[in-house]
Structure formats: C-alpha cells, structure tokens
C-alpha cells in the first residue's frame, strides 16, 4: 500500500469506520450548497434604516459595549435548574488542603475494601 493510500485510508474502529477526508469533502459540499441557497435571499433591504436594527421586544437598543452577555450568565437556566447538584459540588471544593487529604484517605479506604473482597 502506497503512502498516499495509507494517508487516505478509512480508519476501521472495530464495529464502524471513520474517514476524515470524506467527511471534509461532504462538509465542503454542504457549505457550498448553503452558500448558493443564501445567494437566492432577498437583497432589497435598506441599509442604515430601521430594517437592520435589532428588535428587542420593542425596548430601546443599548450601546453595543453594554450588550455583551457575560460568561457567568450563559447556561443560566441549566445551572439554575440543577443548582442543588452544583451546590453539592461547590461544597466539596473547599480549597482546604486537609479536605484534599481526607478525600485521598476516603478513596484509599474504599479501594482497600474493594480489593480486599477480591
């Protein structure tokens, strides 16, 4: 098998396969088709008028610098609904070195128990 064939070869995963080169060609085709479809869009909008402004439920638009959504606000709904889990995780991470050692001892104790039963 030549080097080129090896490079372009399909990777057999055991129960499936994966060929990144084919994937890239298909992805490029999809992008091309999307770009062509985009070309059929309506180009008759008026620049610099109300038509290009964001519609925020009728509220006035803030300055752009003030519109940036902060990192902590992202996925708010997800983190809020699972707050009880995140609270437990937060409490685990005390930042106290004694607690770090305690977790090490706990894991070691569990491992002793499991390996002892083998």
């Amino acid at each position: 098998m030549s080097m080129l064939e090896t490079l372009l070869g399909t990777f057999q995963t055991g129960s499936g396969f994966w060929n990144p080169i084919v994937w890239i060609i298909v992805a490029a085709l999809v992008f091309l088709i999307t770009y062509i479809l985009r070309g059929f869009g309506n180009k008759k909008y008026k620049k610099g008028t109300e038509q290009v402004k964001s519609f925020l439920s009728g509220n006035p638009e803030y300055e752009k610098e003030k519109m940036h959504v902060k990192g902590s606000n992202l996925f708010w709904g997800f983190t809020e609904s699972l707050k009880w889990i995140f609270d437990i995780l937060h409490k685990m991470h005390t930042g106290n070195i004694s607690d770090y050692v305690l977790w090490f001892v706990i894991v070691m104790a569990v491992l002793f128990l499991l390996v002892g039963l083998m």
Partner: protein
Amino acid sequence: MNIIDFLLQHSPALIVAIPLLGAFLTPLISRINNKARNIFVILILGLTTSIVFLLANDVFAGNIHTYVFGSQDLALPIVRILFEVDAMSAFMAIIGSILALVAVIYSWAFIKENTGLDKFYTLILLTTAGMFGMVLTGDMFNLFVFLEITSIASCALIAFWTNKGKSVEAGFKYIVISSIGALFLLFAIALLYGQYNALNIATLANAIQFSFLDKIALVLLIAAFAMKAGIVPMHMWLPDAYSKAPASVTIVLVGATQASLYGVFRVCFTLYGNTINLSPASIGWIIVLLGLITMLLGVAMALIQSDFKRLIAFSAVAEIGFMFLGIGAGLTVLGNAEMMAAIGIPAMSGGVFHIMNDALDIGLLFLVAGAIYYATRETSLDKLGGLARNMKYTTVFFIIGLFAVSGIPPMNGFASKLLIYESTFQLNPILSIVAILSSIMLLAVFVKVFHSVFLGPSLPKFKEVKEVPKSMLIAMGIIASIIIVFGLFPELIINNIVEPAVSALVNYGDYIREVIPTFTGGI
C-alpha cells in the same frame, strides 16, 4: 558503530541525562545573556526530542530497549538501576518531549518580563528530566525518585509568580499532596521489597503472588498515582495548580500528570498483570467507575467556572476520565481473548490515543488562555469579550482546541472518543451514554468560553490589545498543526504509535521476559 547506532544504544540514558545536564548548565549560560540561555534550552529540548523520536521509532518496530546503570551481571549483589523502554514508555516520552519543547518556545516571549528566569528554565528542564525518568525506568524505587524530582520542581514552577499569593498557595497545596502521595508510594515499594527482595518492575512482576501485602501495595500504588493523575475526588489540587501556574508551566504539568497516569497503567498491567488475571474485571470496573465519576464531575465543575484557566483545568480533569474509561474497559476483559479483540483493544486504543490527544488539546487551550492573559492581564470570563477582532490567530487556535477537546470531527479528539464510545457501548451502553453526555457538556463549556472571550462587541478597555508575540504563536501553531494532522490521518497514528503502545500494555509478558527470559506467564 555509527553515531545513530550509538545514540540509539544509549538513548534511554541520554533522554534523561541531557535535560538534567542542561538544567545545571542553564544558570551558567544565563550569565552570557538571556537570548543565549533561551536558545540553549530550546536546543537541549530539541536534541532530547530528536533522541526520543529515534528511540520511539525503534521501539515501535517491536524492540524493547533495556539500559543497565551498574553491573550487567544480574547474579552479582551490586546496586544497579535498569531502564526498560517498551512502546508505552516511548509513547509517553513522545508526549512529554513535545509538551516540554513547545513550553520553552512559548516561554521565550510569555515570561520574558519576569526575573529569575535562569531558575525558571532550570526547573522546566528538571521537571522534564523527571517526567522522562518516570516513563523510562524499569525500577520501582527509581520511579519514586523521579516522581519526587518532578513534584519538587513542579511545585517551584507553580509558585513561580511569588508576588501572587494564590500561586504560592497552589504550590504549597501541590507539594503537600505530592509528598503524601509519594510517601504512600514509598510504603508500597517497601512492602514489595520486603517480600521479594527486588525493586525491578519485571523481577517483581515475575515473583508477585497477589498476597495480602501485595493487595495493600496495589491499593497504595493506585491511590497515590491516581491522586497525582487528578482522578476525582482526589483532583482538587489540580485546578488550583493548573490555574495559578504560568501557562507554559501548566503545559509541562499536563505531561507530568500523564506520567502519573502511566504509573497507574504500568502497575495494573505490568507489575500486577500476571496476578490481576485472578479477577481482572474487578480492577477494571474500579477504574471504569473512577473514570465515569471523573468525567461527569470534571465537566460539571467546568461549566460553572468563570475563570478561564480554572475552567480549562476542570475540563482537563474530565478528559482524564475518558482515558480511565478506555483503559479500564480494556482491563475488564483482559484474559478473555475474544472479548479483548472485540472490546478491549479498541477501548484501550481509544484510551491511549486520548492520552496524546488530551495533552495536545488541553495544552493548546492553556496556551491560548496564557495568550489572552498576556494580552489583557485578565482571566475572568465576565470581564473579557470581543477579542477575536484584536487576536485573529489566537482565535483560530482556540477554535481548533475547542473542536479537538469536544471531539468534533475532523479533529483528533473525535477519533479517540469514537473508539471509546463504540467499544464501551458493547461492554455496557450506559458507559458510552455518560461519555457522550460528558463530551457534549465539554462542547457547551468551550462554546461559553468562545462567546465570553472572543465574540461580542469590542470592549473599550481592550481597544489597544494586540496579537501576542511570534514565539507564542509558533508554539500554539505547532500544537494546532499536530492536532490537525492527527485528526486527518487517525489510522496512520493509531497503526504506528497507538497500537504498539496498547500491545505493550496487553502483552506485559514481553516486558517481563526482556529481564527474566524464563518468565512463562503473560498473554
């Protein structure tokens, strides 16, 4: 004997000796000037990397290398240390060498405003030498010594920014945790030495009986190495250390952490390989369980972080879970040839390939975080924004890292995760469901970072921000290029690098027979 043969013959010793010697020479070279020192350190690590690749090329062809320090005659009761390099050792050495080389190239500009740089580079070289020693040695006590060298040098590097209290605190936590882990490791080695009067891994593996004391030693070894590898719930030192160290140090720490991960695998597969067959599934399932918890907790904690580097550190924890899942799944079917071929080998290939991928992906993301800090002096996601306008190359590198770490095709992370998903699905579908869920959450985590840091309007306080210097871009570019190549040609990498490493782990008998030719066990 030509120079290449000479280098190959002595390569196990040279790979450790060159950075070690370089570490002691660095303060002297610093006396000339800073540029000479930087070039010297890059040359030292460039030379070491070349020798690592030379050795790896030979080892991947099926040759196990041994190197004896001391008497060659095993019958003589003389202290000797034996290095033994199989494909798994070579695989880990490749990762360590790439990370260390990239770290010093990145450091050229990143750290140049700081004082004490002769010590900084000395410590980087010492950490690298320790890391190489850990993965190349065939001696348990020597492994402990190199672990200590790595830990002490890493501690000083984590606390390098001594003007920042939190860096010093992170360094302190790291050395306390490392020392406790190392003490238990030493205790385990003493238990084995007391029973078998040997420290050599192959000799111990040949003699080990899985007695009560051996079981105690096994637990101590796994717990100590797993803590150093950042397995949940012993991971808590890792976000502190990774986030407070300079970015170029963090990438070396990633390599050091993975050397500890190698320790877990060497213990389970080689040292206890012959006896763990008594109940391989139990140990395998323990590792799988630890992997699942590590993935879920790591990614959940990453999601709620608002500090860029701390977020990546928790993602690194989650990534370690993927490796444990893959390797653990392989261990559950070790000894069953049919299951091993169908599930074990693909799962372990995924796990081992992911060690390399994680080092590259997480390494690149840490370098990007360092670049953002260098340009803005800020790591809070709430205070950053709109930087894609000012830092175009860094943005591209981040997108590559984002795709890779989240397992998005066609990046390298996809190939290794695909192997893990498919093989663990056959073992138990819940395993692959949890793994896919964790991967999706990782994508969400880094989409959050992408939005917070790079997208959005240009913020007035970052109007003057410019792209980072060339040395930092080159370092990020090297890793990004490797990620793309590994992603585009996974078959090439798996066939030539990953499978020999997996084979070395599974066929542990070859490792033992290299020292004990009469050994009859193994697969």
